[in-house]
């Protein structure tokens, strides 16, 4: 650690106290801030903004209730404190939860840290009946306290100014902090209770309500047995269905746009390999995939609203009873929900689950949740099946999401049956106050996710399009007749090798090739499909056809239609189960610290995916 040039200061504090919010203000970072205790599960570093003119590095950490960690996310924080010789820490506390958040203060103080307190949520405190005599608290604790308004950033400047670059002579050591026994814990809380009585004032005639008033009103609805659960299902249904409803017009528009662009390119560069490559390779694939960017935005925006409102902790509590019966914990709710976005951060979010078995099961079923990379695949197929009835399409889209969740829960109960483990499990969760979401942050985050969808999968699609185009054009690139050219290409020869694997689920070699590319990233499926059907289309006049139209016209070698209902459904079934994502495999291995877990998960899910897809196709073919 380069202590001579930069002072490193971690932000430490109880869950949901506002650490990440403060970190963003201090460093200009854009960490996600979520109104749920335990949203940050990994530390991150950032430099104090230039304007404060101090060479200081700030670290955002997962929230902790104590320096004696109980969960893996708490361990992250305690481990970095142990591994580094920080002398100073900024203790972040929620002004409305003072009693509870001062507990760690006592531990940090005993460990010997030089502490500044950042008191967040002072805007909420102002609305409360209770007021805090901050000057007296500073005096009692002999510590500097900086009040901060985390929504607008008031007070952040004062905090930066209060950071003292001089390193004290203190040598804090967590290793030397003796474990607090029951008596000590209790006496610390008693001590804080006394302190609170001293510093709390109830101003006369101060016209303010109980802070919890609004929260109680909303909880009456959201925690109501029938109403609460129906509202939740209704909202989720709306989220998933609306993704499709919004998708449909975009798909038509962008499909048409890229179709014309391709045609234009071909007229500008007629009979040239480069023109063919641009139109049939690049434009077709990028177009097919870029259509879905707005849907990614909508998905992340709506999940963001749920996250920042304070509702998640309620949902977690509502499902705990049911989840505990199938080997999980209410705390699995948040990881599962974020699994609808992406399995990678979702797997990290399971760190808040204390019990090993519950965490194991949650990790195992997470990749089944419909992540955003599958969204384009489902949207394409549903548009294909329900093009005449977009309203119904949206409903089916929502059903696919619910289906993936139900399958995950069925897996969970099966695993629960086989894994014998009786280590104690519990569910204690603090419920934060409801808050109006921070719209700017949510919008920005959704935008960021959309851009990363485009920039991450975009280049992969470009490369795959290049490969597929090359393979289907060479070696006979001089051949005038496109059909002959194609039939003698490398792609066709490779295709015939892999065809038998996909034949039982109704696919031809093109479907097979597109499936193989999904193991690079699921979202490239629509792109590779677009290229493959463009270069293999035998109908020369149809250059402007959209992907959906091409799919309708596609045939097997014997002339029978390719995209039949059984094939489309069996492909969707495959995507529900299959784990095609290398990043997920890597994070599973890292989080569970077990290659075995990751391999078992990878093999099991993909084998089941294949079997289920084949079974679906075979059964539907008989029925229809």
């Amino acid at each position: 650690m380069d202590t001579n040039s930069r002072t490193v200061i971690p932000l430490i504090g109880a869950p949901n106290s506002g650490k990440s919010t403060l970190f963003n203000w201090l460093t200009g970072a854009k960490q996600r801030t979520v109104n749920y205790p335990g949203s940050t599960v990994e530390y991150s570093r950032g430099s104090l903004l230039e304007i404060y003119k101090k060479p200081v590095e700030i670290i955002d950490t997962p929230g902790i209730y104590s320096l004696f960690p109980k969960t893996s996310d708490e361990e992250v924080t305690v481990d970095i404190l142990k591994a580094n010789n920080y002398k100073k820490v900024i203790l972040v506390i929620d002004a409305t939860q003072l009693q509870r958040h001062l507990y760690i203060y006592k531990q940090l103080q005993e460990a010997g840290y030089d502490i500044i307190i950042a008191m967040m949520m002072t805007d909420l405190l102002k609305k409360s009946k209770k007021q805090i005599n901050i000057a007296l608290l500073e005096q009692e604790l002999s510590v500097k306290i900086i009040p901060i308004e985390g929504r607008l950033g008031a007070g952040v400047k004062d905090l930066a100014a209060a950071i003292d670059l001089e390193l004290g002579s203190n040598t804090p050591s967590l290793a030397n902090l003796p474990r607090w026994n029951a008596e000590k814990q209790q006496s610390i809380q008693d001590n804080i209770t006394d302190l609170m009585t001293k510093i709390t004032v109830y101003p006369q005639g101060h016209d303010s309500k109980n802070l919890l008033d609004w929260t109680f009103k909303l909880d009456k609805i959201f925690l109501h047995s029938f109403l609460g659960i129906s509202l939740f299902i209704g909202f989720m249904f709306f989220v998933f269905a609306s993704i499709f409803w919004f998708a449909a017009p975009f798909m038509d528009f962008v499909d048409g746009l890229f179709g014309s662009l391709g045609e234009y390119t071909l007229t500008m560069l007629p009979d040239s390999l480069i023109g063919d490559f641009l139109a049939n390779g690049v434009i077709a694939s990028i177009g097919a995939f870029a259509v879905f960017a707005p849907q990614i935005f909508i998905l992340f925006f709506l999940i963001g609203v749920l996250e920042d409102s304070g509702y998640l902790a309620r949902a977690a509590s509502l499902v705990d009873r049911f989840f505990s019966k199938i080997g999980m914990n209410g705390k699995a709710f948040v990881p599962l929900l974020s699994g609808f976005a992406c399995a990678v951060p979702a797997m990290m979010a399971t760190r808040t689950i204390e019990n090993k078995k519950e965490r194991w099961i949650t990790m195992f079923i997470l990749p089944i949740m419909t992540c955003s990379a599958r969204l384009p695949v489902y949207a394409l197929f549903i548009a294909f099946l329900f093009h005449d009835n977009p309203l119904l399409g949206g409903v089916v889209m929502a059903l696919v999401y619910f289906l993936s969740l139900s399958i995950g829960l069925i897996f969970s109960s099966i695993l629960n049956f086989f894994i014998k483990d009786t280590s104690p499990t519990k569910f204690i969760l603090e419920l934060p106050l409801y808050r109006v979401p921070m719209w700017r942050n949510i919008t920005f985050n959704a935008y960021k996710r959309m851009m990363s969808y485009l920039t991450k999968a975009g280049p992969v699609i470009f490369v795959l399009a290049l490969i597929i185009w090359l393979a289907s054009t060479f070696p006979n690139y001089k051949e005038e007749d496109p059909i002959k050219r194609f039939d003698t290409s490398y792609a066709a020869s490779i295709g015939h090798v892999i065809e038998p694997v996909f034949a039982p689920m109704g696919g031809d070699w093109r479907i097979g090739a597109a499936m193989v590319t999904t193991f690079a990233a699921r979202e490239v499926f629509v792109g590779t499909l677009a290229v493959l059907f463009k270069v293999t289309d035998e109908d020369e006049d149809a250059q402007t056809q959209t992907l959906l139209e091409r799919m309708k016209g596609a045939t097997h070698a014997d002339g029978s239609p390719l995209f039949t209902l059984p094939l489309v459904v069996s492909l969707m079934v495959f995507f529900i189960f299959a784990l095609q994502c290398i990043a997920t495999f890597a994070i599973a291995k890292k989080e569970m610290n077990s290659t075995k877990f990751a391999v078992i998960q990878l093999v099991t899910l993909n084998v089941i995916a294949y079997i289920m897809a084949v079974a679906t196709y075979q059964i539907l073919s008989v029925l229809i």
Binding site: Y65, S66, F68, K70, T96, Q97, Q99, R100, Y103, S128, K130, A182, Q185, Q186, Q189, D190, T193, N210, L211, L212, T215, F216, D219, L223, S225, F226, I229, A313, A316, S317, L318, D320, R321, F322, S324, G330, P424, K426, F427, I428, L429, E430, L431, P432, L433
Partner: protein, 73 residues
Amino acid sequence: MNLSEIKKDGQFEVLGVESDELRERLTEMGVYRGLRGKLVRHLPFGGPVILQAGESLFALRREDAQWIQILEL
């Protein structure tokens, strides 16, 4: 009397927690001996109980609540 037995809107004072493991976590989270609170509601289908203490709210599994000895006020 333990916390799982108290009725909705019942006020209580925490007397102690019979499981060491649970006690430590609860104390750290701010549910400790001497704390006064109120049982706000029971979640449906035997789900967790919701407690209020000051300006904090907690959800606690009913099985866990059984370990918490209370005095009804």
